[in-house]
Symmetry: C2
Subunit: 261 residues, 2 copies
């Protein structure tokens, strides 16, 4: 089932996507809801980020093929993998939606890169959940783009602006509840050409492990987002580029790159 | 004026503190409100964290006297000061209130320390605000305690649990709108004995600078919190300790230390 959050005539609502339509729901996507007879053409609504999360979590360096590239970004020879996930938080201000603009800050000097990722949507509050129970607390999965300014990523002490500048966290287009999180094929296209490909089966720490690990010290709330991490090397985007994160079985998250005025 | 958020009979409300009473307001503390005739004794209400912020911001190493101690925590000889603020985000899940419990996680092994700080409460949304305009976007100031687990602070790549574990961000007891942010005397008492003293006049980057700097890439929203940073060296707390952050002109933030069951 595909669950979308959308705006129609200035009103925000949740709905279930069926073909080219979205059927409004009544109730909560996190507890119980029913599908109503109110339907809209997808072309007539504005898709919003699928949730309004309290927090956006990412695991550092979660693919073997990203370690060498990350080392070059951070200015060290080799970036070692870690025995456990290394969580960090993407700025909540950065939340962005399908079809939203990614804005390159006017004082950026290091290149603003894509990172296509799968994103788990927490469905039920959890704390100290075991790995084999973690997926019971996940509502579904969506596409995410961990937009990254590479000079700030290298020079600053934290990722607060490198990965947390306004518009740097596009997620969407909707939540798919029926996919296998251990086998999500993720493709990034820049202006139609494939620039990145990965599969969640290659995550060094899989979703159950990452979610369980974060929940040891942190309460995860319904709507919170957990990114997969990214793979390989990436390139800079420029104004007027179109970037897509395409995950088979979920959908395509498309965003437009602009420069800050 | 002292603005408090409180719960009374399961209902949350804002009010203005006058002596031992709090008078409920109608309207928004961020735009316009009036004081009503509904009054409660402070002892009859539960004070909540003064806002429900989208994000909690802190500047790394913002007092000269904290640099050497921070170096020893991080396992490096000397921690250099920075030409500009080094913002990081304290976990939103960690938000805690006056009289709330600080819970030492059962798997903590490095000591859980206090850090008494002043906290600016953003009153009006801002982006790319100049330093000389920053305080126009601040509603007032409150007390904060940047609770820190020192082993995780040293060993992890980020502060996600060192400073973001549940309960690690007590703020309160209320927002004081009429103080000089460049001269706030901050005292921490552990079980009644003074253990830390600092003044915001010694911030390496003052509040206007920190707020302006963050706002260059990040939209700050009404209710967001910006900590001052801390000074000197600190010590570990243990179960049954009482920790107080006392800022002259604002009030006393008191919390009780517990161990996780």
């Amino acid at each position: 089932m595909k669950i979308a959050r959308f705006r129609q005539k200035r009103r925000a609502a949740y709905g279930v996507v069926e073909g080219d339509e979205v059927a409004e729901i009544r109730g909560s996507i996190f507890t119980r809801f029913r599908i109503t007879d109110t339907r809209h053409n997808l072309g007539d609504v504005e898709l919003l980020a699928p949730t309004a999360p309290l927090q956006i979590w990412c695991p550092g360096l979660n693919f073997a093929e990203h370690l060498e590239f990350a080392g070059s970004v951070l200015g060290v020879e080799k970036t070692p993998g870690s025995r456990h996930p290394e969580p960090w938080q993407k700025g909540r201000n950065a939340l962005n939606a399908h079809e939203g603009r990614i804005v390159i800050p006017k004082d950026s000097w290091g290149g603003v890169h894509y990172e296509g990722e799968a994103v788990a949507v927490i469905g039920r509050q959890c704390r100290r959940v075991a790995p084999d129970q973690a997926l019971n607390h996940v509502l579904g999965f969506t596409c995410g783009n961990d937009i990254s300014e590479r000079a700030w990523q290298r020079d600053d002490w934290t990722f607060w602006r490198a990965k947390g500048s306004d518009t740097f966290a596009p997620v969407g287009p909707w939540i798919e509840t029926d996919v296998d999180p251990a086998n999500l094929e993720m493709v990034v296209r820049l202006n139609g050409g494939e620039v990145q490909r990965a599969n969640t089966r290659d995550m060094l720490h899989d979703f159950p492990t990452v979610i369980s690990y974060i929940s040891q010290q942190v309460t995860l709330y319904a709507g919170d987002l957990v990114f997969s991490g990214t793979t390989g090397s990436t390139t800079a985007m420029k104004p007027d580029d179109v970037v897509e994160v395409d995950i088979q079985g979920i959908g395509v998250l498309r965003n437009y790159v602009h420069s800050e005025e």
